[in-house]
């Protein structure tokens, strides 16, 4: 173990407090020191947006998640990391109850959104999903125009006025950094956009509902590095206004964009904490092994 260089070893304890995190080899150098990155103190002070208490999740008889407890702070990026099949995507899909679509799934324990139980029998799923937007791994533009794609949510919410819809579409596309590229061709089919553009369109579509929280399932995993960089920049911009939860295979990405990280392994939440802390000074051996690339 000691023979392989670990992040722990590279980081000198003295560096950690100031600039230690940015010196980690996986950090993208183009991000300026501390830009938008929340420190551990800021994280501790942030309001709790979602609180997960002793939650377990079952696919019929199989328990996919076991006794998860986690707090997700407001206006921060929380990253779920872990090897394939560790349950991180399943966990993410619990927040907007997407797992309800799969028959035989069951949740124990509770997930509270600002103190209200998401899995209460009185929860209105439609309202819940409007407050908690989701961007999927594979971009899924509807075979409609760009305008109709972005205005899909507001239209369903009952907004009919063309002017109002147009304003929402413009604002959402600007927030997802796509406006300048598509403003002259809003009536064109969304399927004509490039992969990266389609992904930002899906982000715009989620933002058009004006959610508080944005769930991102492996954002950019199917994109080229340039498009990935754009999406990551976008995440930095968006977290000023939205609480963001991302699932990623890519540890470098987690290290670059997240403020808080949670490491999952075999349905268990092994460790969670400030990204800086988790990546430089993991408390559990499993976490260290994973982030140093010894398995997974």
């Amino acid at each position: 173990m000691a023979s392989t260089p670990s992040v722990k070893k590279i980081m000198q304890p003295s560096d950690k407090a100031t600039s230690g995190y940015s010196k980690a080899p996986m950090v993208r150098p183009s991000i300026p020191e501390g830009k938008g990155m929340r420190t551990a103190d800021e994280l501790a002070q942030a309001t709790e947006k979602i609180s997960v208490r002793d939650m377990s999740f079952y696919y019929s008889e199989n328990r996919a998640l076991t006794d998860i407890s986690l707090s997700i702070p407001e206006c921060c990026v929380t990253a779920f990391i872990g090897p394939s099949g560790c349950g991180k995507s399943t966990f993410l899909r619990c927040f907007n109850r997407m797992n309800d679509m799969i028959e035989g799934t069951r949740v124990e324990g509770e997930i509270l959104l600002e103190g209200q139980d998401i899995y209460s029998s009185r929860t209105d799923i439609v309202t819940l999903r409007k407050r908690i937007g989701m961007v999927f791994q594979k971009s899924t533009p509807f075979p409609k125009s760009i305008f109709d794609n972005v205005s899909f949510g507001p239209k369903i919410a009952g907004i009919r006025k063309k002017k109002e819809l147009y304003e929402i579409v413009e604002r959402s596309l600007q927030r997802s950094a796509l406006w300048d590229e598509v403003k002259d061709r809003l009536s064109e089919s969304a399927l004509n956009l490039s992969g990266g553009q389609q992904h930002r369109l899906c982000i715009a579509r989620a933002l058009a509902n004006d959610p508080d929280i944005l769930l991102m399932d492996e954002p950019a995993s199917a994109l080229d590095p340039a498009s990935t960089a754009r999406i990551e920049d976008l995440i930095f911009e968006l977290k000023e206004q939205y609480t963001i939860v991302i699932v990623t295979h890519n540890m470098q990405q987690a290290a670059r964009v997240s403020d808080q990280a949670a490491f999952f392994y075999q349905g268990l939440l092994v460790e969670s904490g400030a990204t800086e802390e988790l990546f430089t000074n993991p408390k559990k051996q499993q976490t260290e092994d994973y982030i140093t690339g010894r398995f997974g």
Binding site: M98, V126, R129, K130, F136, T140, F142, G153
Partner: protein, 332 residues
Amino acid sequence: MTEERSGEEQSIEMELGEAAVIKLPRSTSLERAGGGLLVSLRPYYEGVIHFTLFLCASISVLVTVGIVVVLLYESIQFFFDVSIIEFLTGTRWTPLLKPQHFGILPLMCGTMLVAGGSAIVAVPIGLGTAIYLSEYASPRFRDIVKPMLEILAGIPSVVYGYLAVVFVSPIIRYVFPSAGVFNAASACIVVGIMILPMIISLSEDILQSVPLSLRGAAFALGANKFEVTVRVVVPAALSGIIASFLLAISRAIGETMAVTLAAGATPKLTLNPLESIQTMTAYIVQVSQGDTPAGTVEYRTIFAVGLTLFLTTMTMNVIAQYILSRVGERYE
């Protein structure tokens, strides 16, 4: 005794075993060494098989070409006697009575009336069923309904025909006393039921092929099931659904037995479904089984009508196939 026997058997086995062991490698080594003939009948077999299969495949091509040629040849003969303009624009069709008129519009109108009427019956029910099966029904219900559709599709069209006459028509006459025994409405209803399985199974396949991720994305935006279905799934599958309608309507145009029995034999330029009409197919039946002498103009009318029918259904099929082929491209 038994011991001796078993001993013998053993020894035989031994011999056989040894022989096998020795012989096997020998024979293979012989082949390997080129002891066998290089010349064999195998290439000829391959050639014969190839040719036989080619013959099978060319039969369908030759038959198609042959039918088209016969249709064209007889039709051209027909158009020597009757001007094409009269044929296409005349509003009376009485080739078997004096004075003769050869305007195909009444037959065309009858065919379109039945095709349109059956579409009105089959399209809403078919689309509704397809959406229900694809989006709402439990897998168990789907497992029950799908074989039922197969059965419905397997009922001979003549059965539909007499059901129209003995069952549907009396009901129509009860509701609309002005309707005749033979009327277009009863034909529309039974032909609509006939093409229903086709619309349902084609549309359902196309709805199923809309990616699940698209549905998930719409659900995640706060849409309920109905909104997902109506605003995302059906529009995404729309071109394929339209193609299935076209294929079904083209089948309705070509449908013969049921309309011959149910719709009557009165070529009439009318859109009133309660009247007796005649379709192109029913006219061909009437002439083919009658005693019209071959080689006369009256006889040749069926080729001209057949050609018209063929061109109509072919156009619809080609359009439908074109639309269907483009559906696949969209989702890779």
